[in-house]
Each structure stands twice: as C-alpha cells, then as structure tokens.
C-alpha cells in the first residue's frame, strides 16, 4: 500500500484487461465487450467447423482409396469350370449318339490315368473347353464330334431369366446297358410331360459321372449316381424350386397330372405321408408324427417292406437338400464299403440326422413310384402297386430280370396324352 501507481485510471484498465476472461468465461461487467467480440467468435468457429468437415471428407476419401478392394472370389461352377448356357429349359443329350458312344466305350471318352498309389482311374478334366460352333463346322471326324458332345453336355446350365421352370424332371440314361430305342422312349416321355406343364428337363448320361467316383466299377454303386446327377441339376437350374428324379426304369404314365396339384399339394401329401413308421426295417428311428408341409425339402417313397424306394424322389433347391445330396456323394460316405443297398444308406443318413429327417416326407409309393407288376389284375388296388391313372409306373428290378425293354415298350404306348 505504500507504492502507489502514477495514474489511477491507467492501472485500473490494465488490471481489468488481465482479469477479463477468467476460465474463458466473460465476467458480468464485460458483457458489452463480449457482444462486441461475438462476431469474431462466430467467424472463428465457423472456420473451425469448416476445416473439420473438410478433414472428415478427405479422410473418408483417403480411406476408401487406401483400403483393399473387396475380395474377388471364384464364381460358382459345376464339375466343369467352363459352362455353356442352355438355350432351352429341356436339357437332354443327343440320344441318337448312344450306339456310337457304346462303340467308343468309356476308355475312349476319358483319360485313363495311373494314380500315385498305383491304381488306375478315369479322370475328369475340369478345365475342359467346350467345342465352339466354328470348330464343330470344321471337324469332320464324326467320332470326335460325338465324344465332344458327350463331354460338353455336362457343361450346360440354364441361366436365362425368361421361361424359367419351377420344377425340373431329372433322369439318368445309360448307353451301355440300354438300347437306343429304350432310351429314346424314356427321354421322350420326360420331355412330353415337361412340355405339357412347362417344367424343365435335365437328362444326363450316367457315364458322364463315372470319373467323379473313386470306385469306378459302376455296377457296384449304380444308385449313388443319382446323388451326383441331382446335385448337378440343382446347379443347372439354380432358381427352380423342386426337382423330381425319375429312374430310367420308370415311366410317367399320367401325363396330365401336374406335380403341383398332385405330389406337391399339401392335401395329397397329408394323405400319403407315412407317420411314425421306422425309417428302415428294424430301426428305432421313426418318421415324425407332424410335419410342416410348407418347409418339406425332400419327398421319398417307402415300399411295402418298409424300405425306402429311390426310384423316384423329390429334392428342393435349399441347403437341406444340398447337404443331403452332398453328404451321400461325399467320398467318405459313398466309399464306405456299404454292405447294404442304396436305399438303406439313405435311411442311415436320415436316421442319424434328425434335421434332415424333419424336412423329409416319407410317403406311400402310389403317388410317385407305383410298382408295376403285370401279374396283378387291375382290380387289385393298394397303396404300392400300379393301377391305371397313377402318375409313375416303376419297373424296379427289371434290369436284373432283363425285362425292362419289354415293360417300357408295352407301357409307353399306354401313356395318357391330351
């Protein structure tokens, strides 16, 4: 208090300004000054916000450039890498080649390669290129053309957006064990049926799948090829919903019967469903009492002996059916050395995998694979045997008896057409 400043006013001002912004907040006495600097503050803050937005935009920009492009994965393909787009929803091979193919033989169609372990196998060339139209015109070698057409048939897939079928009829034909006449009738039968109802058709030579198998003795695992062709069909028609396999030893008899109104109809399924029956003779696992028909993925008939009948069956384009088929054709399952028949293997899969069983409708054969027996009279009607008006007549076991040609010839003439 001894030392006094020279000018009262001056010292006061200095004092004021030094204590003007305590903690960044203006004192009450200086609100006027605050208002005066407000414009400047707004300016400053708007510049700050602007810079922030710019930084944000640029950081986004740099990030998008810096980050890796999304991974490119190979597109889905079937057994062959190169595929051909089919022009028609009716995919079937040149059946007239059957005799030439038989002459060429398996040895002429595939490469026979010695494996590391000493075994010799036919191999599938996955990157085989299809023959172009130009090459077809140039080539005069008939045998080569037939061979290429055989190999290229497996590359056909239906990718057109128009005229897409909901349902596809699948059949395997065999040029080694069946005559041309027989094959023509079977394929014609499927095509006729598909034409009436606008379904798709997917017919393949059974020999096309031989190199996929590790056990290439076809007679020992003839039925496992059904799994292979069905999986190929799901790929060939990715947007079709249901796929009906019909064995070559079976004919569609009632061509007017639509699958939607028959086999895939909830009411018909409800009547035909086998509830609470053992999945195979002697099994503890039984089919479900209640089944949600809207989510049924597979339909498989079971014959009078309680054995599943894979003469004809339905799968859908969902992962239940894919898992079912791919599990059946998985080498570890397929090559297990089964002592039982194929239907029993299917029953094994269903009985150990309740998720699959819960999506499977086990039905009476009458609705999709009525067993044909020419010794029975027409008045003897039951749920298993063929009578007139049934959708499909199955000549199961005719190959062993050597009567397939006779049955097919007889019955083909009896098919109902509009």
């Amino acid at each position: 208090m001894v030392l006094k400043p020279k000018s009262k006013k001056g010292s006061h001002k200095a004092n004021e300004s030094s204590s003007q912004w305590p903690l960044g907040i203006p004192p009450l006495s200086s609100t006027k000054k605050y208002i005066g600097t407000k414009n400047l503050r707004i300016k400053l803050s708007s510049i700050f916000v602007g810079v922030c937005i710019l930084l944000y935009v640029f950081s986004k920009f740099f990030n998008s450039r810096g980050s890796k492009p999304t991974n490119q994965y190979p597109p889905v393909h079937g057994l062959y890498m190169n595929e051909l787009s089919a022009s028609s929803r009716l995919i079937f091979p040149h059946v007239e080649h059957a005799t030439i193919l038989k002459e060429i033989g398996i040895r002429g169609l595939y490469v026979f390669r010695a494996e590391i372990d000493g075994s010799k196998q036919y191999v599938l060339k996955a990157d085989d290129k299809p023959l172009t139209d130009e090459e077809k015109k140039k080539t005069t070698d008939q045998v080569y053309l037939v061979k290429k057409s055989f190999l290229d048939h497996g590359k056909l897939v239906y990718r057109k957006k128009s005229d897409e079928p909901d349902i596809v009829i699948v059949t395997l034909v065999d040029f080694e064990r069946y005559d041309l006449e027989n094959i023509v009738k079977v394929v014609q039968n499927r095509v006729d049926y598909a034409q009436i109802h606008r379904y798709g058709v997917y017919v393949r030579w059974i020999q096309e799948f031989l190199p996929v198998m590790s056990n290439q003795d076809m007679d020992s695992n003839y039925d496992f090829y059904k799994g292979l062709v069905m999986r190929a069909a799901l790929h060939a028609f990715p947007r079709a919903k249901k796929f009906l396999f019909i064995d070559q030893d079976a004919l569609i008899m009632n061509l007017n019967l639509s699958l939607k109104k028959h086999l895939l109809d909830k009411n018909i399924l409800d009547v035909a469903l086998l509830r609470n029956v053992p999945i195979k003779p002697g099994s503890n696992v039984k089919t479900y009492e209640n089944l949600d028909f809207s989510t049924v993925s597979m339909v498989i008939p079971q014959d009078e002996n309680g054995v599943l009948d894979l003469t004809s069956f339905v799968v859908s384009n969902d992962y239940y059916s894919k898992a079912f088929l791919e599990f059946l054709i998985d080498p570890i399952v397929r090559d297990y050395g089964w002592q039982e028949s194929f239907p029993s293997v299917v029953a094994h899969v269903l009985q150990w995998h309740p998720q699959l069983l819960s999506k499977t409708a086990v039905v009476v054969p009458k609705i999709m694979a009525s067993e044909f027996d020419d010794t029975r009279s027409d008045d003897d009607v039951d749920a298993f045997h063929y009578t007139e008006g049934d959708l499909i007549a199955s000549f199961k076991g005719c190959r062993e008896a050597g009567v397939c040609a006779k049955y097919i010839n007889n019955m083909y003439s009896k098919t109902k057409k509009t």
């Binding site: 907040i25 190979p74 057994l79 996955a126 239940y320 791919e326 995998h353």
Partner: protein, 377 residues
C-alpha cells in the same frame, strides 16, 4: 486487507466492481483469482439458476436410465458348471426382471470350462486359479459391451466316452445354447485357456462391421492342410455362418463364431456321423476339428458358408504353440499390434499353463492401464 478477506460475498463483490476502485488496485494476484471465482460463480447462478428444476429432472432421468440398463446386463451371465436341473432353461429364468420383453444379447460368449475335469484326475490349485482368471476376463469383457456369457461344463461324460462319440460334446453344447438364446445373432466359442487381451475392442468394431475385409473365403492364401482349393458347387456369394481360424496344423476350434441360424443347426447335426467316425477315429486326432476339415474338403454347402479369420484376430498363439514354425508371424501374439485374444492352446501338453496365463494376464493389465488410472490407486 484482512477485513476484506472475511467480508467477501456477492454483495461486497458487486459493490467492489462498481465503486471500490481504490482497494482493488492494491489486490494481490491471489486475491484476484478469488475474485474471479466469485464472478464465475455469479455468472452460473444468474444464467443457469432459472433452469434448476429442469436440470435436476434431467439428471434423475439419466441416472435412472443408466442404473436400469446397467443392472440388467449381469443377468446374461449364466454359469452352468453346476447346473443340476436340466429341465429348467436357465437363460429364461435369469432374465426378465425389468422388461419382460427383453431380448437376448446380440453376441453370446460360450466359455468351455472344466475340460475333461473331475474324472481322470483331481483339479489342481493352479487349474482352479487359471479358471478363475479366465472367467473373470470374459465376465468383464461381456459386461463392458453388453454381451452374454455362458459357461459350459466339458467334464468327461459317459455318453461321449465311446471312441466314436468323443468329439460330439461341442456340437451338443452349441445346440443347447442356441435353444437357450433364441434371439442371439452370433455365438462365440472360447476355450478356457484364452484371454481377451484388448477388452476395449467390441466385436462389432473388431470383426462384424468389417467382416468382408478381414475374412478369407478360400484357402488360396493360407492352406496348411493342402486341401483342394476348388470345389464344384461352392458359392462364395452366400452369407457366412461360421467363422473359424487356421493354425499351423489346420482348422482351429479354440475360438470361433457360429451364427444362430437354421444352417448352423443343420451343420451341427451333420458334423457327426457314426460311419465317418468308425472309419477315421484312429486318424482323427483332433476329433471334431478333423471331422470339420473332412466335411469342408468335400461338401460345398458347408464350404459356401464358412469364412476364415486370420488366426491372430481372435486366436493368437503364445510362442510355445506351433513351435515348428516359430518364425511365422501369422500365428503368434504380438503386443505391439494389440492382438485381440491369446489362446494358450495345448499348454497342458508339456508347457506351463499357469506361467503363461499369469504372464498374459499381467501383460493385459499393463497394456490397458492409462496414465490417469494412477491417480485412483
């Protein structure tokens, strides 16, 4: 001056501001600070004083909100190690005290405790301690991010003791957990010998918000098993339902994600089949891991929905594991990169589990200590 000191209040301050210039001149620095404090104090009182009631209301609402949400989180912890009542669904009974329509958490961690324990030998003191550390680690993580945690007992049980059925327990536990948490989107399976090293990272940020960038759908870049790269019918455009990792020896299921979906349920059902086990149980040393590798090798419906995460993203190894390829940085935990999870896989085979878990628990503490936490301890 001493008079002034005692007289300071709002009134004297105002008077001082306006008139008493004489005294003010001679104020010391300390006094000025004090003065300014009162100015601020006054400012707040005059400006905010009017909205006191609103502020109080706001505070109460916020407080109640956090209290309620916070108190509901721990209910997703379900310790089922000593669950003796299988009929009761613990997930349901433990939940639903605040809001009856409360949904399950989006993520649920399944911690596999007690593997093989209690049957072949007594559990040692160290094993108890390891279990304690591991569980506390997951509990803290789940609570922090609002995830569920369920602890499952992997005690050797007679029904799995047949050689064909050894690997089947994992699938059964997953199926059961899916039934318990029907609304949960993803399940994260974790073995007991794991530690979450970066509890700050959420699963959303770490994995699921950038799932396409960090997963690999093919084995092209990393294929320790030399499986066939190309598989007919595999569709990589499908959504992933199973996220696993690969170590030097192939698929590793010590830490993996599985989506709560019909596909997953089908997969858990198809995983085990007696005829595959009958053929391979002598070869399949790692049971369900080998079974999955076999399915992956030949079935496209499975391959189409599996994605591979880098091992270090959810399953980094300590130096002792994969010792044959100890110079490969793809496998081993690196603290500088802040790897998310460390998995002391196989530490009970000739390594020191207790030592490893102590080391990593200590490291985790060190890595996640901020400078300011020193003030609170």
């Amino acid at each position: 001056m001493s008079d002034l000191d005692t007289q300071y209040d709002g009134k004297s301050l105002n008077r001082y501001n306006d008139e008493d210039e004489k005294d003010k001149k001679s104020l010391t620095f300390f006094k000025r600070i004090k003065l300014n404090f009162f100015r601020v104090h006054n400012y707040f009182h005059s400006e905010l004083g009017k909205s006191k009631r609103t502020l109080l209301l706001l505070f109460i609402v916020i407080f109640l909100f956090f209290w309620i949400t916070d108190s509901t989180i721990p209910n997703t912890f379900i310790d089922q190690r000593s669950n003796q009542a299988p009929n009761q669904v613990p997930g349901k009974s433990a939940k639903s005290n605040w809001l009856s329509r409360k949904k399950d958490p989006r993520f649920v961690i399944i911690l596999a405790a007690n593997e093989g324990g209690g049957v072949l030998k007594w559990k040692s003191e160290q094993e108890w301690a390891i279990e304690h550390i591991s569980i506390a680690n997951k509990k803290a993580y789940a609570k922090r991010h609002g995830y569920g945690l369920t602890i499952k007992d992997l005690t050797t049980v007679k029904r799995y003791s047949h050689e064909f059925r050894e690997g089947w327990q994992k699938a059964d536990i997953l199926k059961q957990t899916m039934r318990e948490f029907p609304d949960t989107e993803w399940f994260w399976w974790l073995d007991l010998d794991t530690l979450i090293m970066e509890p700050e990272k959420s699963l959303e940020d770490h994995i699921f918000n950038r799932i396409d960038e960090i997963t690999d759908r093919t084995l092209e870049n990393f294929n320790p098993l030399n499986l066939e790269l190309d598989q007919p019918y595999t569709d990589y455009s499908e959504e992933m339902n199973l996220l696993i990792t690969q170590d030097c020896g192939g698929f590793n299921l010590g830490s993996f994600f599985i989506k709560n979906s019909d596909w997953s349920r089908l997969f858990l059902d198809m995983w085990w089949d007696p005829i595959t086990y009958e053929q391979k149980h002598m070869v399949w040393e790692h049971r369900e891991q080998d079974a999955l590798e076999s399915l992956y090798a030949s079935e496209a419906w499975l391959r189409s929905k599996i994605g591979f995460l880098p091992l270090r993203s959810i399953n980094a190894f300590p130096p002792g594991a994969c010792s044959d390829s100890s110079d490969d940085p793809r496998y081993f935990y690196n603290e500088r990169d802040h790897d998310f999870v460390v998995n002391m896989a196989g530490c009970n085979f000739g390594r020191d589990c207790w030592g490893e878990i102590q080391y990593y628990a200590g490291l985790m503490k060190k890595l996640n200590t901020r400078w300011y936490t020193r003030f609170f301890f």
